[in-house]
């Protein structure tokens, strides 16, 4: 009972001091005081505005307020947790931060302002999504670049060097194409390993298979070395 009266008095004194000191319209602070009922301390609108500028959005209430506070809270990292957002963490710190987010959203501060306020005191780390600036571009672009580079490498490796030194693979039936594989697979005793080396009929495909064997197994020209010896 006493503490509630004290709290009200404190709020009143604080409000009066702020209004007197800065000559701000009374309406704004009355709203802040009423919009933050669950918190003992109303947010210091003057301080918040000095950090992120005046509120840029409409004041929110009820369902819209809860939804927006939840959405923005999910973009903030809980500083005392391991990779949890403020919206997801049960810690006291996250609870306090949620209340701060809620108060700011209720007072009309938009997402970017809320994030900027926390960033001002905690640093960029507090944002769960690094903003697109400076080195952070790498975080967004590196995966895409990696994918493109990987695709390019696969493409060029499979295509092989133009006019390279390895055995040229001409068109025609597979059995007759290489002077090396033909005698082994048809005249020598059945060798399962060598049988497994059989090539597809399609010349282009066969060339690719040889190329891949050359890369993967290090066989010169994509031909099993032992098979070469036998030949």
């Amino acid at each position: 009972m006493g503490s509630r009266w004290q709290a009200t008095l404190r709020r009143g004194l604080r409000l009066a001091a702020v209004v007197l000191a800065l000559g701000l319209p009374l309406r704004a602070d009355t709203q802040a005081a009423t919009s933050s009922e669950p918190s003992e301390q109303p947010i210091d609108l003057v301080h918040v505005a000095s950090v992120v500028g005046p509120a840029q959005g409409p004041r929110l209430t009820a369902g819209a307020l809860e939804a927006e506070a939840q959405r923005v809270g999910a973009l903030l990292r809980c500083p005392v947790c391991q990779g949890l957002s403020v919206a997801d963490s049960p810690s006291t710190m996250a609870t306090n931060m949620r209340q701060q987010v809620r108060d700011m959203v209720a007072a009309g501060f938009v997402e970017e302002q809320v994030l900027a306020y926390f960033e001002a005191s905690y640093g960029e780390f507090v944002r769960l999504q690094p903003p697109l600036r400076g080195v952070n571009w790498l975080v967004w672009l590196a995966p895409l670049l990696g994918l493109l580079a990987g695709g390019a490498i696969v493409f060029f490796v499979l295509r092989g060097p133009r006019g390279g030194a390895q055995t040229p693979v001409g068109p025609g039936p597979v059995g007759s194409q290489g002077s090396v594989t033909a005698p082994v697979s048809h005249t020598a005793a059945p060798d399962t390993a060598v049988e497994a080396d059989a090539l597809p009929d399609d010349a282009e495909l066969a060339r690719l298979v040889l190329r891949i064997r050359e890369i993967a197994y290090g066989w010169p020209g994509g031909v099993r070395p032992r098979a070469k010896e036998q030949a």
Partner: protein, 180 residues
């Protein structure tokens, strides 16, 4: 051909390994303090046990040390004697405790048992801790007489570190006056 694969593989993996090695040397819990060099967030908080709210504004013109602490925090217990002795040794500096995530009766009992030499303020709802970017306790902020945060210390204070914070808070004054 295998050499080409090797070179390509190294080109991809070496930078990643280098990044890993560099990052392993960094403490993931060491946070930057973006507020150092910026105006200290204002506050008006009531002392534990009652009394008039103390504002940072009212201390303008004096070096200030703001120590965030809690009764459940062991390092805070360790640094408590350093702070109480310091507040007597440096009477020109205003020492303030800000209680972080704790209950008032516990704070009052703690201060009765351990002795308190300066006000400890109740930060209900933690808005002040958020404004200062407090990650955990103890954290101590040195504020120059012009209201600028000049340094921040994370973890328990030693006599030497306290002395350094006090000096910085005082020198901040000279720098501030010099630039005016």
């Amino acid at each position: 051909m295998n050499r080409r694969v090797l070179v390509a593989g190294l080109a991809v993996t070496l930078p990643l390994v280098a990044l890993l090695v560099v990052s392993l040397g960094r403490d993931p819990h060491r946070m930057d303090a973006p507020l150092v060099g910026r105006p200290a967030p204002p506050f008006a908080l009531r002392p534990a046990g009652g009394g008039q709210p103390v504002t940072l504004e009212s201390l303008r013109g004096r070096p200030v040390l703001v120590n965030f602490w809690a009764t459940w925090c062991v390092p805070c217990f360790q640094e408590h004697p350093v702070l109480t002795a310091g507040s007597r040794r440096y009477p020109d500096v205003a020492f303030l405790g800000v209680v972080y995530e704790d209950e008032e009766p516990r704070v009052q009992r703690y201060l009765r048992e351990q002795g308190g030499a300066y006000p400890s303020l109740m930060d209900d709802g933690g808005k002040t801790a958020i404004a200062y970017g407090v990650y955990g306790v103890p954290e101590t902020y040195a504020i120059a007489p012009d209201g600028t945060i000049v340094d921040k210390h994370t973890g328990p204070l030693t006599d030497g570190r306290l002395r350094a914070l006090v000096d910085k808070a005082r020198i901040g004054a000279m720098v501030g006056q010099g630039s005016q």
